[in-house]
């Protein structure tokens, strides 16, 4: 039926029946009423009626009817209960769809047209929370029936208003209280009948607030029962339209989480998803497409995504972790948009606002990203086969003249048996003075599984309070799916917006500990009341806040955090804006180290710990994260005072790894013993706090682009530490004595080490007495290999041996059959050696600047110089103009 035509020209909405309105919107009419009821149950009437009387709205409503309900001694017969509610108002209300109310903003209609009599008036004050099945038999009774196929929800609360003789009945949750033992002809109770589960909960919450949770749990059980085995989309839609939000986000009941079961939700999720894809597949004509467009609820993705966010992350993860095809199927099947209902997300730019529309695809990506970041970022299974991949997005200003514009492209070959996504990251070097693009380089190119965790940096320009513009950098780990999605959107702003929602979700999930408890992994559309309590952990506690206000430093701390959190009542704070948070963290650490009160220190440690959940700490596991106090730091180093002064934060995780953060960035982590060694070695070169600061500043300034082995810079390493760092980035380190071929090679070529990029994984072969420069030199070859990618790095080298332990790649086969021209080989060698030489010189200069002595000996430096000079000589001799070689 097409209602739209009949609406044309109609200006008096009262003339339209509520039934029609409801139908048009795909909704149902809520019918709530108060009726006389006969019961044998007893309730503390005085308490009940005091409560009722305290509600202005309710009083007005009751007394409008000119009946004194308060005086329970009055003869009941004199009360005409039929007058409640007043006859002239139809006591029905069009109930907005649950889904719409929570997630979706449909076409805007004037809500006033849908105002209801009874519960609208109760809305402000009387929220009665009656959940199905919850019965406290000693006080009152309620009864719930959910008939999905009959499209019927019936919740009743029976509230006696006079003394009864009652018989105790044994009732357990989910059983219906039905015993009626009555002798009088007049009604003993009022019965509130509600056709809507949320109204029912509202009534219970008001009248019996202490029973709210039990009522919720019971209602969830009823819905679980009703939802099992539903197969038709219409039934499922009705089910989710009627379902109260807490059944999805979860209720904490006696320390245990209760929500609809993950199994059932997953089943429903797939049904919605497949229904949508089926529809898309079935459309083979314009006529059908037009018919679909006209159908108001064609798109079931909004249901699917809503349900998905309610399933515990771990459950979804188990379903999708080994099934990239399913992940991409879900991604590509989701359609339409939903509304973001998080409260937080504060940013000066690209903010994710409450009520903002989000593509369902995007929400899925965000959901997966948040869960992967919080739980599985460091799992071996999710490390890309091509290790150390680093992607960059946005505009980074490197100097007054140079800006780097990073862009991302991604595609997916449908039908690819491996279900991999291809990502290509390019950087345009833009000269601000000449307004020209000087170079365009591909900095990353690879094929990834959707859940491979990749390193991402996003640059944004931020206007500070002072008016100056600063480039801020968000540094994080995201699954390849995230980058694939962002690549379709082509804008760094989108990435930032998504990352902020991700940060919100991680904070929520971390503070709720939902993943362990099994409550909805990521309650995307935060049911504020439900998560409010847990979220408050993340606030600066009131008492701490008061104390902090008393000092200048404390005030600064509060200002910085307030900048990050939007403090809305008791429930609205969420984190975002990592760069700002880094600054706030820095100041908090300072206050922590200067605080003299143990309790205050504990609160600050808690604040820091919670904040760190949304910080990207690279490979460092956040599991069981603990902030070390001053005493803890002193047990690690004798130079604790220096680190405290410079506000270096020491944390420890469940694996007992100590992480060191400087200005919000983790620059080192290792076991306690290794950390102790690292600091001790550092102090052999450092004499004072100033030098330490210089060192820390330098380490934080390391190259923002590309893959790198920064961990080997500005540090002295034991051989085992070298090996660990190289392995972390996906290469292998082996002693030359392990291979006969290498024994011969090392003997006649007298090298200290040798980088073999042909091997998979790439291998650095070493002597036991390999020197620091030799190790550094080969590691820089490996870094070059990581940055340029295997194929590019090897291009120009002549392959003469077929590896017998693996199949040849296509480009290798080509190289085997052709002779590489000498000029190409010379250029390839020059580029490689030039990269290494530049890095050696850079490292040497940094050491001279910070530590006052070089890392490498003058002899070492001389040999390096002669080598690069000879490479240039050889090029010149071959007629190559090295000035024309552009190193990308």
């Amino acid at each position: 039926m097409n209602f739209k035509n009949s609406l044309k020209g109609m200006d008096d909405f009262d003339r339209i029946s509520r039934d029609i309105w409801a139908d048009m919107r795909g909704e149902k009419i809520a019918t709530n009423s108060i009726e006389p009821f006969f019961t044998n149950l007893w309730v503390d009437e005085r308490k009940l009626f005091t409560l009722l009387a305290s509600s202005t709205d309710f009083n007005t409503y009751l007394f409008d009817a000119k009946k004194n309900f308060i005086n329970y001694a009055q003869e009941v017969e004199q009360v005409n209960l039929k007058e409640i509610p007043p006859a002239k108002i139809d006591n029905v209300r069009v109930k907005a769809k649950m889904i719409e109310k929570l997630v979706i903003q449909e076409p805007k209609l004037d809500e006033k047209q849908f105002q209801n009599s009874f519960l609208e008036r109760l809305d402000q004050k009387v929220w009665v929370n009656v959940s199905p099945g919850y019965i406290d038999p000693r006080k009152y009774t309620h009864h719930t029936e959910i008939g999905i196929r009959e499209r019927k929800i019936e919740c009743t609360i029976n509230i006696p208003y006079r003394n009864y003789y009652r018989e105790l009945t044994k009732t357990v949750i989910n059983e219906t209280e039905a015993t009626v033992h009555y002798s009088s002809a007049s009604p003993d109770a009022i019965q509130i009948r509600l056709s809507d589960a949320e109204d029912y909960m509202a009534a219970i919450t008001y009248l019996f607030p202490y029973h709210r949770q039990e009522a919720q749990v019971a209602l969830i059980s009823h819905f679980e029962e009703a939802g099992n085995g539903l197969t038709s989309i219409d039934d499922l839609m009705f089910f989710y339209n009627q379902l109260p939000n807490f059944a999805l986000t979860g209720v904490d009941y006696k320390g245990k989480a209760k929500k609809l079961s993950d199994g059932m939700l997953w089943d429903h999720f797939l049904q919605f998803l497949n229904f949508d894809s089926q529809l898309i597949r079935d459309v083979d004509s314009i006529g059908k497409a037009a018919a679909l467009a006209a159908e108001p609820f064609r798109d079931k993705s909004r249901y699917a995504i809503r349900i998905l966010t309610a399933i515990s992350g771990e459950f979804v993860y188990k379903k999708i972790k080994n099934d990239p095809k399913l992940i991409l199927h879900i991604y590509h099947s989701l359609d339409g948009e939903s509304v973001y209902m998080g409260k937080g997300i504060i940013a000066d730019t690209t903010q994710a606002a409450y009520g903002q529309m989000y593509e369902n695809k995007e929400l899925f990506v965000i959901y997966v990203t948040a869960f992967m970041q919080a739980q599985h970022a460091t799992d071996d299974a999710h490390q890309p086969l091509d290790r150390g991949s680093l992607f960059a997005l946005g505009v980074s200003r490197d100097s007054d003249t140079i800006e780097k514009h990073c862009e991302l492209t991604g595609y997916f070959m449908e039908g690819d048996p491996n279900n991999i996504v291809t990502l290509i990251n390019t950087v345009k070097v833009f000269n601000l003075k000449t307004k020209e693009i000087e170079a365009e380089n591909e900095i990353e190119n690879g094929e990834f599984r959707p859940l491979d965790m990749l390193h991402l940096k996003v640059y944004e320009k931020m206007k500070l309070r002072t008016g100056t513009v600063q480039t801020l950098e968000t540094d994080t780990e995201v699954p390849a799916l995230f980058l694939y999605h962002i690549a379709q959107k082509k804008a760094a702003e989108d990435a930032l917006r998504c990352l902020r929602v991700v940060a919100d979700l991680i904070v929520i999930s971390a503070s709720l500990a939902t993943i362990e408890s099994g409550i909805s992994g990521l309650p995307l559309y935060a049911a504020y009341a439900d998560i409010g309590v847990a979220l408050s952990d993340f606030y600066i506690e009131t008492r701490l806040r008061d104390e902090l206000k008393m000092t200048t430093r404390g005030k600064k701390l509060l200002e910085l955090w307030d900048d990050i959190y939007m403090l809305q009542g008791a429930t609205g704070a969420m984190a975002s804006m990592l760069p700002k948070a880094e600054k706030a963290l820095d100041v908090t650490v300072e206050v922590l180290y200067t605080s003299r009160y143990p309790r205050q220190q504990e609160s600050l440690k808690k604040l820091i710990k919670n904040a760190l959940y949304s910080f990207p700490l690279r490979d460092y596991s956040k599991n069981g994260l603990r902030v070390l106090s001053k005493d803890g730091i002193r047990s690690i180093t004798n130079h604790a005072a220096d680190f405290e002064k410079l506000r270096v934060l020491f944390v420890e995780n469940a694996a007992k790894e100590i992480g060191l953060l400087y200005r919000g960035k983790m620059f080192f982590y290792a076991t306690e013993a290794a950390t102790r060694n690292f600091i001790a070695r550092l102090y052999k070169k450092i004499n004072n706090e100033k030098q330490l600061e210089k060192y820390l500043d330098e380490i934080n300034r390391f190259d923002k682009f590309g893959k790198n082995l920064n961990a080997i810079r500005l540090t002295e390493l034991e051989l085992q530490e070298w090996i660990q760092i190289v392995r972390r980035l996906g290469a292998e380190v082996k002693f030359y004595t392990e291979s006969k071929k290498m024994v011969k090679y090392f003997k006649i070529r007298n090298v200290g080490a040798c980088f073999d990029g042909w091997d998979i994984p790439p291998t650095i072969w070493i002597r036991k007495d390999v020197t620091d420069l030799e190790m550094f030199h080969e590691c820089m070859h490996f870094e070059d290999y990581l940055r340029r990618g295997r194929k590019r790095y090897l291009t120009g080298e002549q392959i003469i041996e077929i590896p017998n332990n693996r199949k040849l790649e296509e480009f290798e086969k080509l190289l085997l059959t052709q002779k590489i021209p000498e000029k190409d080989r010379l250029i390839s060698t020059y580029i490689k050696e030039k990269y290494v030489y530049d890095k050696v010189v850079e490292e040497q200069n940094k050491w001279l600047d910070i530590f006052g002595k070089g890392r490498f000996s003058p002899q070492d430096m001389r040999l390096s110089k002669v080598n690069i000079d000879d490479a240039i000589n050889a090029c010149k001799k071959a007629g190559i103009d090295i000035n024309k070689i552009v190193i990308k």
């Binding site: 090679y745 003997k747 006649i748 070529r749 007298n750 090298v751 200290g752 080490a753 040798c754 980088f755 073999d756 020197t771 420069l773 030799e774 030199h777 120009g796 080298e797 002549q798 003469i800 041996e801 000498e822 080989r825 010379l826 390839s828 060698t829 490689k832 050696e833 040999l863 002669v866 080598n867 000879d870 490479a871 000589n873 050889a874 010149k876 001799k877 071959a878």
Partner: protein, 86 residues
């Protein structure tokens, strides 16, 4: 000098014939070069490329006599006897 460079090149090429893993690329003249023992000499350098790992090696020769002096590797100097022994 061009003749000398050519001769040096041929000499090394002859020596390397037996080693299929290395290519002799070219040779160039360096005037008053500081050698590994800090002595200063005119030298001819023959540039070699390793066909296995793409490393470069440079054979240093006395520009006058074409005597082999030493081989300059990526990390260390190599004695002539070691380098050409197969």
């Amino acid at each position: 000098m061009i003749n000398k460079e050519k001769k040096a090149f041929e000499k090394i090429k002859e020596l390397m014939k037996v080693d299929p893993t290395i290519s002799v690329i070219n040779s160039f003249y360096k005037e008053k070069d500081i050698l590994r023992d800090d002595s200063i000499k005119d030298v001819i350098v023959v540039s070699l490329l390793d066909d296995i790992y793409g490393k470069a090696f440079y054979v240093y020769m006395d520009a006058e006599t074409l005597d082999l002096l030493y081989v300059q590797g990526p990390h260390r100097y190599i004695e002539i006897a070691d380098f050409f022994e197969l």
